[in-house]
Structure formats: structure tokens, C-alpha cells
């Protein structure tokens, strides 16, 4: 069920970018998109009986673990999301400095 919610969140992010013309709103919906994606990545590795992949000691075998790899990947994906958003905000700020508005439509010179 969470998987479907993740995909819908992903698609909602896309919708957000599609309709918004404000740079900050675009970045926010970009984040929504990335969050949806990260949740989807985590949902890939989930198992109802699984427990967190932290071993208390070498001996305990036979336990069912959740798939640790997606968690490692999501760690990296989140940080990459942070990187892109930081840069996006920086560009948004320089746009604001140049055009005194965040809205893409009313930038005067057509590009």
C-alpha cells in the first residue's frame, strides 16, 4: 500500500512542477518528488517479518532481515536531493537578486 502512495507522491511532485511557475514552489515539488522516490526505494526492501539489519552478535542466525541495500541507496539519494535543492535555492536567490521576483513568468526578457 505504501508503495502505491510513494508512486502517487512521486507523480504529485511531477504535477507540482508542471503547474507551478514560482521557482521556490518548483523546488518544493521537486523535493516532494524525491521524497516519494525515496519512500519507494525503501518499500522495495521491506518485508513484513523482517527486522532492522543490525546484528546484536555474530551468532543469531535464522532471523529474517529487511533488505539493507535499498536503505544504503536511499541514504545517498537523500543527500543528493539535498545537494540539488541547495543549488536550486542558490540559483533562485540569484534570480531574485536579478529580477526581484520568484515567478518565472514575469521575467521581462523572453528567453
Amino acid at each position: 500500500m505504501i508503495q502505491y502512495a510513494a508512486i502517487l507522491l512521486f507523480v504529485l511532485g511531477l504535477y507540482g512542477i508542471f503547474i507551478s511557475t514560482n521557482t521556490i514552489k518548483m523546488l518544493v515539488s521537486l523535493n516532494i518528488l524525491e521524497i516519494g522516490l525515496n519512500i519507494f526505494i525503501i518499500s522495495i526492501g521491506f518485508n513484513y517479518q523482517g527486522i532492522a539489519p543490525i546484528l546484536s552478535s555474530v551468532s543469531d542466525t535464522g532471523l529474517i532481515y529487511v533488505d539493507p541495500l535499498p536503505q544504503a541507496l536511499v541514504l545517498t539519494a537523500i543527500v543528493i536531493g539535498v545537494g540539488t535543492t541547495a543549488l536550486g535555492l542558490a540559483f533562485a536567490k540569484s534570480i531574485y537578486q536579478k529580477y526581484q521576483s520568484f515567478d518565472l513568468n514575469d521575467m521581462e526578457e523572453s528567453l
Binding site: I19, F46, A52, T61, D67, G83, A90, K93
Partner: protein, 236 residues
């Protein structure tokens, strides 16, 4: 009208993807994942765990098995910080004058709180291979501490030069450890220190060292990004 039309369209796309995923046989249903046919099974295998020596398998993957990813990912953060700094490189900066003026209590209370946050983040970073968490969350906590100081005191300017040096040194050390791995052991980022017994603090070879470096690097980078956003051109 365009909004509604767009919403229907994209929701349709979502539903379509869900349908497509449903009727692909080899895509495991949610929750019923058996690790046997996945590479993750090898990660959980006992002798592999003992060979890497890290209790927290996720950290084993993040820094051990897929250390190269993390190196790449740290570079991503590095370049974003660099980019933000590059975009706002003014001659003389001064603090963005916010309308909110903090009072005395906030200014000094936050310094105390910063100390506690620093200790917590150090704990999380050093115990990365035992308990959940590690370099990235620890680094984030350091940065949020710095952010707290910025918010609490509108005159506060952290030592940007210091953070830059820390960032550079941590990054280069990370790569140098990798190179050492190449020189001493067979391949880049290979573990050339004994991995000790699983669960001990001094276990899992180079993983904790790398995680500490990553924690410092992430903390300093995000801190400098925060500083860049909160400063503006000194209108001389």
C-alpha cells in the same frame, strides 16, 4: 482548468505505473521480499559480516561494500557547497538583517544547547558501525547546531575559513585512505586494518574512521551553505 487537467493526467500516469508494476511477475509484491535471490543475502551472511566486522549492516554497505558510492555522494555535497559559495562570492559579506531580533536568553541559551548537540553528533558519528546512524546524520546534527547559533544570534558569523579547511582536509583524508587501501591492500578503499570482533567499538577496520571524516565534512559543508544563505553583499 489547466490545473485540473494536469492533475488528472499525472494521476493517470501514477495509476498506469502502478498497474504496470503490478502485472510484472518478477517485481516482488510489497512486503513479501525474500532476500534469497538478492545480492543483499550475501551481505547478511555470517562470515561476510565477520569479515567486514560492522554490526550495522547498512553502514557496512554504505562505507564498506559501496564505499565508492559514498565518496561520490560526498563529492555531490562538496560541489553543491562549492557552487553555493561560488554563486554568492561577494567581496565583503555581512549578516542578512532579519526582522526578528533575538533576546538575551536565546543568544546565550543556544550556545549551551550547541555544546550538547555537538556531543550527541559525535556519539552518533563514532558509533556509526554499531547503532543506526553514522557520518551523515551526525554531520547534519553539527550543521543544525550551527544553524541554531545563526538563528539565535543575528550577529554571529561562524569561522568560514576554518570550515573550508576542515572540509578540504576531511575530503582529502578520505581519498588518501582509499589510496592507502590501493597501495597496501589490493584495491581502492579496501580495508587494510584488522576488522576486530563484531559489536566492539574498535571493530570494522577503516569504516569508523571514514565515517568520522564524512561526519566532519558533511557538517562543515552544510554549515558553510547555511552561512552563504544568511549573508549578503556588504553595501559599502
Amino acid at each position: 482548468m489547466k490545473k485540473l487537467f494536469g492533475l488528472i493526467l499525472f494521476m493517470g500516469l501514477g495509476v498506469l505505473i502502478i498497474l504496470a508494476l503490478n502485472n510484472t511477475i518478477s517485481f516482488p509484491k510489497f512486503g513479501s521480499v525474500d532476500l534469497s535471490d538478492r545480492v543483499a543475502d550475501a551481505y547478511l551472511d555470517n562470515d561476510n559480516v565477520s569479515e567486514v566486522g560492522s554490526a550495522n549492516i547498512v553502514t557496512a554497505i554504505v562505507v564498506g561494500y559501496r564505499g565508492f558510492d559514498t565518496l561520490g555522494e560526498v563529492t555531490v555535497l562538496f560541489i553543491s557547497a562549492l557552487g553555493v559559495a561560488f554563486l554568492f562570492s561577494f567581496k565583503k559579506e555581512k549578516r542578512l538583517d532579519l526582522k526578528f531580533k533575538p533576546n538575551f536568553m536565546l543568544k546565550h541559551g543556544s550556545k549551551l544547547l550547541f555544546g550538547i548537540m555537538l556531543v550527541v553528533s559525535l556519539y552518533i558519528i563514532t558509533h556509526g558501525h554499531l547503532t543506526p546512524g553514522g557520518g551523515f546524520p551526525g554531520g547534519a546534527i553539527i550543521a543544525s547546531g550551527v544553524l541554531l547559533l545563526y538563528l539565535a544570534d543575528d550577529k554571529f558569523r561562524s569561522n568560514i575559513k576554518g570550515f573550508k579547511v576542515l572540509e578540504g582536509v576531511a575530503g582529502s583524508l578520505f581519498v588518501i585512505i582509499g589510496l592507502l587501501g590501493l597501495i597496501l591492500a589490493t584495491s581502492f578503499l579496501e580495508n587494510f586494518i584488522a576488522s576486530g570482533t563484531v559489536g566492539q567499538l574498535l571493530s570494522a577496520g577503516i569504516i569508523p574512521i571514514i565515517y568520522v571524516l564524512i561526519g566532519l565534512k558533511v557538517g562543515s559543508e552544510i554549515a558553510s551553505v547555511v552561512d552563504n544563505f544568511l549573508t549578503e553583499e556588504e553595501s559599502a
